[in-house]
Amino acid sequence: MPRRKGAPEVNAGSMADIAFLLLIFFLVTTTIETDAGLDRMLPPMEPPEEDVVIKQKNIFTVNINKNGQLLVEDELMQLTGLRDAAIAFLENGADGTCNYCKGRKDPASSDNPTKAIISLKNDRETKYSTYITVQNELVGAYNDLRDRESQRIFGRDFTDMEAEYLNPETASSVRDDLKDKVKRIQDMFPQKLSEAETTSN
């Protein structure tokens, strides 16, 4: 009588089928999503100790009404012109201390980028998509200026550097190097975007 060779082998031929089934399930349910959006800091609730006096010419007012129309520095403006107007305001450099600005040095506009403030006001009835579009344009104005200076000094886009700096996978030695560069550009054009409380009329 021939000897039995232990337990019979389990047929693994259907393993692939099972794995495929699972694979297809995960393929279907997967949504590879990384959320993205516009970062903003809200002003703290307590007012600052002493009142800061800001010259009117250093404020760039943007008003959005409930129909989505823009009033920029008391003039009606189309959305397409907003970014250029904001850039012109930010790098105006009227007091001459800003040696990297390429603005017109108009004495009626902002003194230098560190003093320039963009003030955004909106109506309660404004549509959120309009509001985001305007915010996007204003952030775009800052990014354009920062990119330009970053290209001039480091030969690289600011947004690109910042993204690499914020990416957790970047090596820490590279990050430390980028940190100073990012900080330097941010100090050249600090993002001063104030959002006033909304009005209801």
């Binding site: 959006g37 903003r40 800091m41 959120y128 915010q135 952030v139 990014n143």
Partner: protein, 159 residues
């Protein structure tokens, strides 16, 4: 010759023994990258688009707030006014502060001051409710917000 006769008869079959390994590899890849959306949306959530965005990479540092009109199947009960969704329930404006603080309490100490509030607001909502929420967040001193959007080219203002 005997040998050549044997081998040239037909092509040897390709071994499929490693097929399960390959499939498993793919399976593990998809298992690890999958994020199953854990809260069911009770409100419409069609986000606006923007192109100057920053990515929110770390999921554990985010508190989400959804705002939008009630979903179509709930419209009959809840009407069409925009609602706030926290976690998986609808809430009133005065519940936002306590909710955010309780969420913040669940985070480990080390990352507590890095927490960002992600506002996921439907694009058809009016800004009024959003500024109410921002006001609530200022009251509890959570000042880092992110207006979450889709990445893409912005469409012009519809008049």
């Amino acid at each position: 010759m005997k040998i050549s006769k044997k081998t040239t008869n037909r092509l040897p079959a390709v071994s499929t023994a490693s097929l399960p390994d390959i499939v498993f590899m793919l399976l593990f890849f998809f298992m690890t990258v999958t994020t199953i959306n854990d809260n069911t949306l009770l409100v419409d959530n069609d986000l606006p688009t923007a192109d100057q965005v920053k990515e929110l990479t770390k999921k554990d540092r985010i508190i989400e707030i959804f705002i939008g009109k009630p979903a179509p199947h709930l419209m009959g009960v809840l009407g069409t006014e925009p609602k706030i969704q926290l976690d998986d329930r609808l809430a009133q404006i005065n519940e936002v502060g306590p909710y955010v603080l309780s969420e913040l309490d669940k985070k480990p100490d080390a990352i507590r001051n890095l927490v960002t509030v992600s506002l996921k607001v439907d694009k058809n909502v009016n800004v009024g409710i959003v500024s109410d929420i921002k006001q609530e967040l200022r009251k509890v001193n959570l000042l880092k917000v992110n207006y979450t959007t889709y990445e893409g080219v912005t469409k012009g203002i519809s008049q």
